[in-house]
């Protein structure tokens, strides 16, 4: 008896108060919709096979169809023109013949459909034919679809919030699977036929309005996209796509014949690209190594000569896993501007070492035309990173864009990396554990512009392969740009490789700096290729500066700064200078233009290869330094591994690096300012090794980024150093403030402490706890 009473109470608890109005409540549907529909319902399930016309009792009203704990199967059509309604159920399955819609047509805006579902989730089964029976709120102004499902969401047909007139914009689609409140996990899967997918677009490419927004969130689960998602817009620009998953995000390939995969392009009259953002707690990966095109591209202006639309933004971040885009399918990352517009921005990052970032797609954020400037591409990788099909941020009159590529591991490039500009060349910066350039890297100013700058800094080796080229040359009357390649290990320029910082036809040459073993490490510089910074200026001075332990110019090497009246080549070998027969080291040659060599006392001076030949004043011998900070001396390059600690070594374990003495015979930086770890380095033993792994890294972790509050954390990471930083409160923990305090005005003219080297904090747990 009591059990039935409790069960009845439970049913009442699950079922909300019902609206008395007809055709606006679940009870009406279950009662047969006044004869217009057929619903077969039990206490746990409800199957609707005919038409349900949503009719709120008052115009503009909202209907809530609460089926309680029932699993609802929809085989008929359910909806009403421009209506706003909500379906609440344990599960909703829409069969092939079923449909949900709140279409507004061309005369009214789309309505609003809200689906609040339990752990059974949402399943939109494939329609009987392509594009049939969409989940549809399109209208004169796209409507809104909100799905909050505790369980998985499977979409196998069109879901659309498109605009249907040229003067209205796309609507909103917001789908959440999983529930942080009760701890339910959910994943989102998008499949379907060609032409289907998720859409919040404008009516046509000539529309004056913008695309809508699509947001997919998988709490505790993953997102798998195997069909297109589009927020293409008109003159107002593309819309926004947001993908957030606690687990992985899979970026697949849309059905055959579909070019666009994730698209936030702008069209119309100079529409700008929108934004595409994805954040995965796990990894971001293609489906079977294939990925479709991801684009947020701007459009050209209708009136010739006007500036086109700018490129949009694409942000891809994996918190604990790798990022893999391509190489199969139709992979593309594009945030190009329209003709005359500027390029957009593409950011690629992951947060946990040693996960890699592998981009097998062309990456472009170009700008063109008189005003167009290149965009920006930023990489922030905690492991290795590779780009096999190039990066292009070239620009027009506003110059090349910016490339800021950072990785703790090795950055490998195969295709062309370009930041050229018909204004000035742009800026390219690599900072990595090591660097392997297998294709051209160019920041050329053309046709009458200054070359840009290429800076490459690595803790380890840098290799410019035979297919490699670094070009920051200029044209016209402009000075050459800058090429700065500095590695802590060996730096190697292959025989067919070229480094070019030439000035224009009447300009001075630029600057070239090649350094190995920087700042005091063992590292040799080998040049077999053609390195030149030629100019024709009487005032400017092209300079090529080479520094390393052993500098070796092979038989095919050319070092050329001929032209400028004050040009010079400066070579500083900390151990040895080797110039093979056939190598050429040449500069203009006069009293102010010389080849200058600095060597350790007693080192041999190469006899040939210099033009003009080395004079007595061109060679300088210096003693070895005995401590850091000394002037007028060379830092020695002792043999690491001979078990003798020689300056600047701080340890030597005989070629067996360990946790406290690395492969370059340097004691690890143990004072990590982390209050949670011991700072003393000891002789590694089994007992000490395990806890020391983290507290005494062979090389300090990246100092680039400050501790950052991860979106999915259980609690803030422990402070690794006494940074005066405000951290966000842990979700669900902090008592809410009772009253609002208006923000204080921004402080001005405060003199802060000097920046210190920053360390990345340990990752916190990714998921929020269930509600206590």
């Amino acid at each position: 008896m009591s059990r039935w009473l409790l069960a009845t109470l439970l049913l009442f608890a699950l079922a909300p108060a019902r609206d008395a109005a007809a055709v606006c409540t679940a009870s009406e549907v279950m009662a047969g919709c006044g004869g217009t529909c057929t619903a077969s319902c039990t206490a746990t399930a409800c199957t609707i096979t005919r038409t349900v016309v949503v009719t709120p009792p008052v115009a503009g009203g909202v209907c809530t169809f609460d089926f309680g704990a029932r699993q609802v199967t929809l085989g008929g059509s359910f909806g009403g023109t421009s209506k706003a309604f909500e379906i609440r159920a344990a599960k909703l399955t829409v069969l092939a013949a079923g449909s949900l819609s709140a279409i507004g047509g061309t005369g009214a805006p789309g309505g609003m459909i809200t689906l609040t579902l339990g752990s059974g989730g949402l399943a939109l089964m494939p329609a009987s034919s392509a594009r049939a029976n969409p989940l549809d709120v399109s209208g004169a102004g796209g409507g809104t679809i909100i799905v909050q499902s505790d369980g998985d969401v499977s979409l196998e047909r069109t879901v659309t919030a498109n605009a249907r007139t040229a003067t209205t914009g796309g609507g909103n689609i917001m789908i959440t699977a999983g529930n942080r409140v009760n701890g339910a996990s959910g994943s989102i899967t998008l499949r379907g036929r060609a032409g289907e997918g998720l859409r919040a677009e404008t009516s046509s490419n000539s529309s004056s309005k913008g695309g809508g927004s699509i947001s997919l969130t998988a709490n505790g689960g993953s997102i798998d996209l195997e069909n297109s998602v589009s927020v293409v817009g008109g003159t107002f620009g593309g819309g926004s796509i947001d993908l957030t998953a606690d687990a992985d995000v899979t970026l697949g390939v849309p059905p055959s014949g579909v070019l666009l995969f994730l698209s936030a392009d702008g069209f119309g009259d100079a529409g700008s690209g929108g934004s595409i953002s994805m954040l995965a707690g796990g990894k971001i990966v293609g489906s079977a190594a294939g990925t479709g095109a991801i684009t947020a591209v701007g459009h050209s202006a209708t009136l010739a000569g006007d500036a086109g639309g700018s490129g949009g933004t694409i942000s891809i971040e994996a918190q604990t896993g790798s990022v893999t885009i391509g190489p199969l399918g139709n992979p593309q990352l594009a945030a190009d501007g329209g003709s005359g517009g500027c390029g957009g921005a593409i950011n690629l990052s992951n947060d946990t070492a040693p996960a890699a970032i592998s981009i097998g797609a062309p990456v472009t954020a170009t700008g063109t035309g008189t005003d167009g400037g290149g965009g920006t591409v930023c990489l922030d990788a905690q492991g290795a990173a590779s780009f096999t099909r190039g990066i292009d941020v070239s620009g027009g009159g506003s110059g090349g864009g910016g490339l800021d590529l950072n990785a703790l591991g090795t950055i490998t490039t195969a295709g062309a990396v370009r930041s050229d500009g018909s204004g000035d060349g742009g800026c390219i910066s690599f900072c990595a554990g090591a660097l392997a350039l297998g294709g051209p890297v160019t920041a050329i100013g053309s046709p009458d512009a200054t070359g840009g700058s290429v800076m490459a800094a690595a803790d380890g080796d840098i290799t410019l392969s035979a297919a490699g080229m670094v070009d920051a040359s200029s044209t016209g009357g402009n000075f050459g740009g800058c090429v700065d390649i500095e590695g802590g290990g060996n730096v190697t320029i292959a025989s067919a490789a070229v480094i070019d910082a030439d000035g224009g036809s009447s300009g001075g040459g630029g600057l070239i700096c090649l350094v190995s073993g920087t700042p005091d490490l063992p590292g040799n510089l080998t040049v077999n290729g053609n390195v030149h910074a030629r100019g024709s200026s009487t005032a400017a001075s092209a300079t090529a500066s080479l520094t390393g332990c052993t500098i070796h110019l092979g038989s095919t090497a050319v070092l050329d700064t001929i032209g400028d009246a004050q040009a010079r080549n400066a070579l500083a070998a900390r151990r040895l200078l080797v110039v093979d027969a056939g190598a050429q080291i040449k500069t203009t040659g006069n009293a102010l233009s010389r080849n200058v060599v600095t060597l350790p006392i007693g080192a041999a001076v190469p006899a040939a290869g210099f033009s003009p030949p080395l004079g007595t004043g061109d060679v300088q011998f210096q003693p070895f330094c005995t401590s850091l900070g000394q002037l007028g001396c060379l830092i020695p390059c002792p043999d690491c591994g001979n078990r003798i600690v020689e300056f600047p070594e701080t340890c030597d374990t005989g070629g067996h690096p360990d946790v406290c003495c690395n492969a370059t015979c340097r004691t690890a930086a143990c004072a990590d300012t982390n209050v949670c770890t011991a700072d003393a380095c000891s002789v590694p033993s089994q007992a000490a090794r395990r806890p020391r792994r983290r507290s005494c890294p062979a090389r300090p972790p990246p100092p680039r980024r400050a501790p950052r509050p991860p979106p999915y954390r259980r609690r803030p990471p422990p402070a690794r150093r006494p940074l005066r930083r405000r951290r966000p409160p842990p979700l669900n923990r902090q008592p809410r403030p009772r009253s609002f305090r208006p923000p204080p005005p921004p402080p001005r003219h405060r003199r802060p402490p000097r920046a210190r080297r920053r360390r990345r904090p340990p990752r916190a747990s990714l998921r929020l706890p269930p509600r206590p």
Binding site: A84, N182, N406, M455, R727, P728, A755
Partner: protein, 333 residues
């Protein structure tokens, strides 16, 4: 076979578990959606979580959306025209999912003082005229962004975005303005500003501090950045890939990378300072860049690379440019 509840302890325990499960399910689900506002078919209707705000409203104690934490969205603005949501000094709070205030139709003016906290996104208003203004609102503790807006001509004033997992303010569009705002302790950017013709500051300026990456991140063109303070951010103080933009009165100190980095054509920089940044101070490149004077860089370390050593080229051939560089080889005036 009929069994009474008192006959078998396991059956009784199962029923209690079923009841508890049911209550959990009910608790985890958002409340049914209703319309709310000061004028809903001529009546004033209080707002609860997930409701559609169809007319202006000043939130008060009667509004359940301010007294209970929302399982999904806070309020969904679906109005036929401009409306004002006055938070009335109260807080709308979520559970780390959904949007605190989601604007899908109409044009919202969001008025503080008041707070929107702990949703996935605090306020989201995307569309040509979805947002008119946000004044004196605190957006805190959201899993992703504090405020996401895309549109024309809106303004953000006197507001705070702090402790959000991604961006504090993620703004896009054209001709929008922001002044007197602060973004602190956000996971990525304090201010992400995209589009054309943004008026950033001009009055008391905006402040970005202790954000995980850049304090201000700008893209597009024709912006005016006047009076921006960026302190102790993990990335650059100010990063901009923009054209035809003015930077004036920027103060970028103690940031994990450079103070002010900007590239593009037609940039003007004046009266700006960069102190104690880890990499460079002021670094502005591109065709036609102009030094308006009054720019200074002090004590910037010039460190690069994962291990943070300095560039020999920068420290020898171009040493002064570590502190302040405007144009390819231009020291600051």
């Amino acid at each position: 076979m009929r069994t009474g509840p008192g006959t078998h302890p396991c059956a009784r325990r199962g029923l209690w578990l079923l009841l508890a499960l049911g209550l959990v399910l009910v608790a985890g689900r958002a409340a049914a959606m209703h319309r709310c506002g000061d004028d809903v078919d001529g009546k004033s209707v209080a707002c609860a979580c997930g409701d559609l705000l169809v007319s202006s409203r000043t939130l008060g104690a009667a509004d359940a959306v301010t007294t209970s934490r929302c399982a999904g969205n806070g309020l969904v603005v679906a109005a036929s025209g401009p409306i004002t949501l006055d938070l009335g000094g109260r807080t709308v709070e979520g559970h780390g999912q959904g949007v605190g205030v989601l604007v899908v139709r109409g044009t919202l003016s969001l008025v503080g003082p008041g707070s929107v906290e702990r949703f996935e996104t605090g306020v989201r208003a995307e569309g040509e005229a979805r947002l008119a203004s946000v004044v004196a609102v605190r957006l805190a503790g959201h899993r992703l962004d504090g405020l996401v807006a895309r549109g024309d001509g809106y303004s953000i004033q006197g507001s705070v975005a702090e402790g959000n997992g991604r961006d504090g303010f993620a703004l896009a569009g054209s001709g929008y303005a922001l002044d007197g705002n602060r973004a602190s302790g956000n996971g990525r950017y304090g201010f992400e500003l995209v589009g054309m013709g943004a008026h950033v500051g001009g009055g008391i300026g905006n402040d970005a501090r202790a954000n995980g990456m850049d304090g201000f991140w700008l893209l597009g063109g024709m912006h005016q950045v006047v009076g921006a303070t960026a302190t102790a951010n993990g990335g650059h103080g100010v990063f901009a890939a923009v054209t035809h933009t003015l930077f004036a009165g920027v103060e970028a100190d103690a940031n994990g990378r450079s103070g002010l980095v900007a590239s593009g054509g037609g940039l003007v920089v004046r009266d700006s300072t960069a102190t104690g940044n880890r990499t460079f101070g002021i670094w502005v490149m591109g065709p036609g860049v102009e030094d308006g004077g009054g720019n200074h860089g002090v004590d910037n370390a010039g460190l690069m690379g994962p291990s943070g050593h300095g560039s020999e080229m920068m420290s020898t051939m171009m040493a002064p440019l570590v502190q302040c560089r405007i144009g390819m080889m231009g020291e600051c005036r």
